[in-house]
């Protein structure tokens, strides 16, 4: 029944031809149509006189815009740092066995996710309208140290506080999802080794959760890059509002918005590359081999190309 057959007409096995992948005429047509449309749109866009490419070039590296860009990047960095740290703390509190801490964290997330960022920014900036001085003391009792709220909370501090504390509420949910995704066995194994809860979290759970946390955090960072423009409400000029300031003076809205898009795309792309490498770093150990980096891929392709052409 289980004899070995070798079909004679197909010849030597090693010589039998490799199967041919199927043709997909639909895909080809779609590809051509899409390429065609893209070229059409791009052509229309680039040659459109309203784009005023000259103006774009003129403003692309202008000092005001560079300074706005710097503010945007600085705010994004500080706010995300505060947001991530706050998010981790909130997530851990939220999942703690202590009901008071857990509820407190819930309330924070509810409040800071639920109210407009504009209000939060205005709140920190105009805190002095409600609390003219901030003091250290006993509630309803004497005050020991006190300072003018406006001096204590500078403009930048208000911006970072507003953006960062708001972000922390969102990050908390993301971190929580990440921590939940780590297998419970990891926790138990660490505890069985005598590690404390803090050590377990820091050394075992968080590094693994990062794999899940990083992609949505990338989303958040990109979002933050653009959300920073809301700090204009408290008179901090960043990239987009600097640009708005310029075109509100000369009315050259389209080319200036192209400049904005350019810089945001650059920043987003840099973030994207960073995210790629972070993901790769924290994906360590999840698969047998790391995927090649784009650089390695490029080199590999070049090598193959040389080989091909050498034939």
């Amino acid at each position: 029944m289980t004899e070995t057959l070798v079909r004679t007409d197909s010849g030597d096995a090693a010589a039998s031809p490799r199967p041919v992948p199927p043709r997909r005429p639909g895909q080809r047509v779609a590809a051509v149509v899409v390429a065609f449309l893209l070229v059409f749109l791009l052509e229309g866009w680039i040659t459109n006189p309203r784009m005023q490419w000259g103006t774009v070039g003129e403003f692309l590296f202008s000092p005001v815009i560079m300074e706005g860009l710097r503010t945007t990047l600085l705010l994004t960095f500080l706010a995300m740092a505060l947001g991530i740290v706050g998010g981790v703390v909130l997530a851990v509190l939220r999942m703690s066995a202590n009901p008071i801490l857990s509820r407190l964290s819930w309330c924070y997330i509810w409040l800071f996710r639920g109210t407009p960022l504009l209000v939060q920014l205005l709140f920190w900036y105009f805190l002095s309208a409600i609390v003219p001085t901030i003091g250290l003391g006993i509630p309803w009792g004497p005050t020991f140290v006190q300072a003018d709220t406006n001096d204590l909370i500078t403009q930048l501090a208000a911006a970072v506080l507003g953006l960062g504390l708001h972000e922390a509420a969102y990050m908390a949910e993301i971190v929580r999802a990440g921590i939940t995704s780590v297998d419970d066995g990891q926790n138990e194994a660490a505890q069985a080794l005598g590690m404390s809860r803090g050590q377990t979290l820091r050394r075992i759970v968080l590094p693994q959760a990062l794999r899940i946390i990083i992609p949505p955090t990338g989303n958040q960072a990109i979002s933050m890059l653009k959300t920073t423009s809301l700090v204009f409400a408290i008179a901090v000029p960043e990239l987009l509002t600097s640009i708005q300031g310029i075109y509100s003076r000369n009315f050259q809205q389209v080319p200036l918005l192209v400049v904005a898009c350019f810089w945001y795309l650059v920043a987003t792309s840099v973030l994207g590359v960073g995210q790629y490498y972070l993901e790769r770093r924290f994906g360590r150990g999840t698969s047998r081999h790391l995927p090649p980096t784009p650089l390695q891929r490029l080199r590999g392709a070049a090598r193959n190309h040389r080989k091909e052409s050498a034939r």
């Binding site: 029944m1 289980t2 004899e3 070995t4 057959l5 070798v6 079909r7 197909s10 096995a13 090693a14 039998s16 031809p17 490799r18 199967p19 041919v20 992948p21 199927p22």
Partner: protein
């Protein structure tokens, strides 16, 4: 002579630089129960997956019921079939995985009727009736409404078998169906498989259960390093292996 259900002719398969199958030749006759054994990494699962076209093959020919698996031969060349055609050919082949792979968001009955309803367009009522029958056949009539997470491993694997049977396959592939189970639960699943074999189903079973191979198998194939080393009636191969490698392996597993 009725055509063989599976006919493999020098099937080659590699992943990147690792050659996993190095020229497999095999025939499975209708009604035959073939047991596939061999060390880990010898390519047993990969072969089974090729039969079902879950993997493409690199060279050679693989026929199920005299039809090329996943390919069409034109002008002496193999052309990969389109997804739809592949899916159509797969319907005649049932597959049971080591890790069950039940759909966790569906109850046992929903798992069983999903493919008939979606793929064969069987009316839902009819599918439910037949699904209940099948669950009854694997001894789970009372678990129709349970989600997989509420079932023991043995029960889950039996639902998986019922799910494969619901498509009325003429060939069943089992990939280590009992190796993820507690020793106590192995028996229930083997029982169901034995009954299936008695009904005349053609089966290819990758297994480490030598008792099952001896009692139920019509033939035993020992694979190592991507090639078939030894083949023959189970009783013969198990008691008197001809090859050194077979002997070494069996001494560890038995």
């Amino acid at each position: 002579m009725t055509p063989a259900v599976i006919r493999a002719e020098s099937v080659y398969k590699s992943f990147g630089r690792t050659d996993v199958l190095k020229g497999i030749d095999l025939t499975v006759a209708p009604g035959e129960v073939m047991c596939l054994v061999g060390p880990s990494g010898s390519g047993k699962s990969t072969f089974l997956r090729c039969v079902n076209h879950l993997e493409t093959i690199d060279r050679g020919r693989l026929y199920v019921r005299d039809e090329l698996v996943g390919y069409e031969e034109r002008d002496g060349k193999l052309h990969e079939l389109h997804e739809k055609a592949v899916a159509r050919r797969r319907r005649g082949i049932g597959m049971v995985f080591q890790r069950f792979n039940l759909f966790p968001h569906m109850t046992a009955l929903e798992n069983v009727i999903e493919a008939p309803v979606q793929v064969r367009k069987v009316p839902k009522r009819q599918a439910r009736e037949r699904g209940a029958e099948l669950l009854d056949r694997v001894g789970l009539a009372d678990k129709a409404g349970s989600y997989p997470a509420q079932l023991s491993g043995g029960q889950q694997q039996r639902v998986a078998i019922a799910r494969a049977l619901a498509m009325k396959p003429e060939l069943m592939l089992f990939d280590e169906p009992t190796s993820a189970l507690d020793p106590e639960l192995v028996g229930e699943v083997l029982e169901v498989m034995r009954a299936l074999a008695d009904d005349g189903m053609t089966m290819v079973v990758v297994t480490h259960e030598m008792g099952f191979a001896r009692e139920v198998g019509d033939s035993l194939v020992f694979m190592d390093d991507g090639a078939v080393v030894e083949t023959g009636p189970p009783a013969e191969v198990l008691s008197d292996p001809r090859h050194e490698r077979t002997r070494a392996f069996l001494s560890k597993v038995l």
